[in-house]
Symmetry: C2
Subunit: 388 residues, 2 copies
Amino acid sequence: MKYYPEIKIDVEKVAKFLELPPSRIADLIEKRNLQQNWDEYDDIYRFEGHAPRLEDGTVLIDNHGSFELVIGFPKIKRAMLLEPALKSRFGELESVTVEEKMNGYNVRVVDYNGKLIAFTRSGHICPYSTERVQNFLKRDFFKDNPNIVVYGEMVGPENPYVQKYVYDIESLDFFVFDMRYKNTGEALSVSRRRELAEEYGFNQARLFGEFGIGEATEKITQIIKELGKKGREGVVIKDPEMVLQPMKYTCSESNCSDLHQAFKFYNETGRDYLFSRVVREGFQSYEWAESEEDFKKRCLRLGESMLRPMKETIAQVQTGERISDDFSIRVRDKKVIYKFKSYLGRLGLYVTFGLPEKRGNEYIINIRKINKSTNDKTLAMLEGQLWS
Amino acid sequence: MKYYPEIKIDVEKVAKFLELPPSRIADLIEKRNLQQNWDEYDDIYRFEGHAPRLEDGTVLIDNHGSFELVIGFPKIKRAMLLEPALKSRFGELESVTVEEKMNGYNVRVVDYNGKLIAFTRSGHICPYSTERVQNFLKRDFFKDNPNIVVYGEMVGPENPYVQKYVYDIESLDFFVFDMRYKNTGEALSVSRRRELAEEYGFNQARLFGEFGIGEATEKITQIIKELGKKGREGVVIKDPEMVLQPMKYTCSESNCSDLHQAFKFYNETGRDYLFSRVVREGFQSYEWAESEEDFKKRCLRLGESMLRPMKETIAQVQTGERISDDFSIRVRDKKVIYKFKSYLGRLGLYVTFGLPEKRGNEYIINIRKINKSTNDKTLAMLEGQLWS
């Protein structure tokens, strides 16, 4: 029996716009690969999973029958061994541009009915990001450049997804790292994008420079070692013209800090998440031809990043406390709190919100997420159950 | 469309013997949960997957229409936190027996048509183990005790499955750790089993002793620390009467040595295999309330166990060599070599056998297993491909 979820889109028109047969659109709707947003955003749709020729998380906006696409942010592949990866991907270029990869969450911003809205990677409209982004980006840009989508990283501690304290940001900030045209997803060159961002006063991901392909490995290795010491994540290496796909390369310290965060909730840690982070350390250590002393430091860092948070979790559960993920957000409009809570609920995340506390002309709200699986497993072990 | 694999068993008779409806047996055959052996063992069947009330790997022997069951070895669950696990599982006993858990592979032995045969955990008849076991166990025992199955560990370097050098064994040896009755799977008490094994001159897993439940945690912790230093695996803690199910507890050093072996072929490492070994370290470290110094030693050991073999693998592939798993076996009868090769082939393992070399009245054969996935992945990274 077929179940067609309610979706009010005009299949024929969308099919024509996307240059796909209407049956394909009907199929996407039926399989829930094309989903409609809710509330004031019910003219906005997102592609989930395998839509043909479209990045995951691509958004379709229906402006009263005329459509536009906000292409999902393309997954950036990772260099395991920097030198061969540089040669293989960018070998035919004279130089590459290196920008900082910041550790926060990826957001796309467009103007929609006279207001900025912020899409998360999956193409959802996050009410918190949407409110915050009004402070970070001026609307002028979007009026002047209606065909451009701004891609950036939401960074800082008052962050519902990735809380980081290493950037000297008190609450939250937004750093532009990409601009792409609507519909095609074609990227602006690095220099054009940085010029535009500068002109409109946007914060940008740090530019380390443009390096000749012959010197890039050495320069980037140096940058990565420095960033690592500061607890920063890494870099994205780009074709200055943005024709070739960018590539990322990251610091061991940030890798281990991810594991540290993950192992607090050890029983929720993705097995692939763990594996891929271990493997990165092996490749970097090999490429850097580390001394035995540096190698042992790396091994210690890796081991500690998993075992220390785990021990703390067990100790905490032993005292009768439950472990939780605690963070706060800051909003201007109290209504955003309830919108955000309902948004997280729709995504299947169950969290407790504290009472809003006034801070200047804004409100701070503490949020707690209980990680049931790790709490239950730890308690079971403390009660003497066997693993399996 | 239904596909019934060819299997010559009498469904009605088996159903009666197992006290199951014939349709259930037909179902097991159809789903390939009941499989027939080949060659001279085609009167022997094994249960794979979910057969009702039967341990995985249970074997059914058809002696001209009269059946007997060799129950699969029950999975022994693991203590993560020793003290609560001891209390919870064995709290009502006065004492527990502690025997060494040896690191090799698990084999069941019975007499079949006047010759001993060895089943692996999955219920296959391993030609190598079958030849070897004739040297280790006298047939008298099986003549005198036709209803008893002997369970033991095949240990040593000349071992196709788990090569270990920590036991001071030149080639291979067999250590009895369990005896159970055919058909019911009921276990003999520890003392009765050890008496019988002694009487017939069988090697046995080391007995550390019987400890009062109040002192067991301390004693076992001490044993585990000593075994760890020697690179041994750990212990199995048993109800002396073998009524309650045994429980295992292992050493960090052996855990890390598993990871070291696995990470040589890092791309083949099971994600759950990795995760469970990391988690064990966290629990043990917590329970032992380690000093910061000992904790760091553990973290270093864990990190090193993954990164050192990985680096060695990358370096080896870089030189143009392929990495492989190399081991040797030793047989008396040359025919066993070809039987064993065909056996591995049937199990889907592709290995190269060297030429037999005469050693005394036996032959040594070197075997090489190429781990394609890790070789290919490493080469790809060295050529500059990106991870994903």
